[in-house]
Amino acid sequence: MTTTIDMDLPTTAPAAAPPVVPDTKPPAQETPVKIHVRGFDFYYGTTKVLHGITLKIPERQVTALIGPSGCGKSTFIRSINRMNDIIPDAHGEGTVEIDGRDIYATGTDVVALRRRVGMVFQKSNPFPKSIYDNIAYGLRIGGMHNRRELDEVVEKSLVRAALWDEVKDRLHSSALALSGGQQQRVCIARALAVDPEILLMDEPASALDPIATTKIEELIWDLKVNYTIVIVTHNMQQAARVSDRTAFFMLGRLVEYSDTRTVFMNPREKMTEDYVTGRFG
């Protein structure tokens, strides 16, 4: 069976829907598609874990991927920057286009791709280096060695990651000495330093306390002005709070993909309703 939920953007209410209260209705505007996934299957060896995923992820919006453990959402998010390539015997079929170009096409420069598509993981993983060197790492690999330029990008990245004020006086101390929430923001700053267009976040706040979580969520809000963000989260309220659109995955299939308001207030699919209301299983 192929999952074919192919929402045309911008999102419009279904024809049968009654008028909504004017103030809550988003203005109709064209939202360009940043990532267009078509009929994407993924296999670990012979085991098929993603089945014909088709969806369009809009530019400069936050798209949340939700679903129970093992539903394929992490595999899917890792497919967007070909992070799964490093897993032996794993391969995908179908297309994942970014700005209209298939990232799985022969000849794709995967390193350049990952520079455009940054990633932040569940467990913060700063390098055992100073805060400064963590942020400058990708830039140096990319050939930037001018101290003034590096200083500028490090500061800009830390400001964007909402961490600058907390660390500006100790840029050369170890990143590992920071709190969990700060370490996660170092990782976000490190991802931002190479000036990506897309930011993938795989449960970025699941290991953090509520205050650090709030900071990450506020950061996501700020970042979407400049970046297209895709976030995997097990925290339903978090998906509801931070995302514009939500995709619900189940057993490797995309069950429902809609604007977040619809998914959390009036989902179309019974399975989605059962999941978001906690009646699943």
Binding site: A17, P18, P19, V20, V21, P22, M236, Q237, A240, F264, M265, N266, P267, T272, E273, V276, T277, G278, R279
Partner: protein, 224 residues
């Protein structure tokens, strides 16, 4: 977790239905007090209104607690929203029954103006609407809710008819005016009860179908 949540939802539903039953009693007793000119019964309805107010406070408290603790989504969220909108409607309907009783007590101090024809029918129809609105909520029946909403036009017509009739009494003899005005008020109270039932039904449609159907005409005019 969700089993506990379901239990909370059931308890809330049960409380709302108990409140609904009390409101239905208040309406039927207010009608009886009016038609049978029973001042003692009217006073009892007025006294009992406190219990309905207490019930509203209890439902509000539990609903807010449920939101804080469980953060409901989808149909659960719509249920909680419906409860929060329906409860004050019921409380207001009970207040209107109390108003009917207050006017009935005043009317009982004077001879009856006339044999009542329009008002009892209006009262019965309003009572039916409230009862069916609650039935629609219990059964999660969007179709019934829409049927009840459709009844509101007839209520409006009956109120108007009752007013016209009372106006003739006022024109006939100025001594009729105070009683006729009180009866006009009573007609209006029943009409407002029917409006309350309509509002309850709009929330039932929202709960069941996820569609907000109120103010649709206003919205259509606005976008014209």
């Amino acid at each position: 977790m969700h089993r506990h949540f379901d239990q909370d939802i059931e308890e809330l539903k049960d409380l709302l239905l108990r409140m609904g039953a009390m409101v239905e009693d208040a309406i039927s007793e207010s009608i009886r007090a009016l038609l049978e000119r029973d001042t003692a019964l009217a006073e009892e309805v007025i006294r009992n209104d406190d219990r309905i107010d207490q019930m509203e406070l209890e439902i509000d408290r539990r609903t807010l607690e449920l939101i804080a603790k469980m953060q409901p989504a989808a149909v659960d969220l719509r249920f909680v929203a419906a409860i929060m909108k329906i409860t004050p409607e019921l409380e207001r309907i009970a207040d209107l029954a109390q108003d009917v009783c207050e006017r009935a007590i005043e009317l009982n101090r004077e001879p009856q103006l006339k044999a009542m024809i329009a008002i009892p029918r209006l009262a019965q129809d309003a009572q039916t609407m409230v009862r069916q609105a609650l039935d629609a909520f219990v059964r999660g029946d969007g179709d019934l809710a829409r049927q009840v909403i459709a009844m509101d036009d007839s209520i409006d017509q009956q109120t108007e008819q009752s007013f016209r009739e009372l106006l003739t009494y006022m024109l006939e003899d100025p001594r009729n005016i105070s009683r006729a005005i009180r009866l006009t008020f009573i007609g209006k109270y029943f009409e407002r009860m029917a409006d309350g039932a309509t509002n309850v039904c709009e929330m039932v449609v929202y709960l069941v179908e996820g569609k907000m159907i109120k103010h649709v005409h206003a919205e259509a005019n606005r976008s014209r």
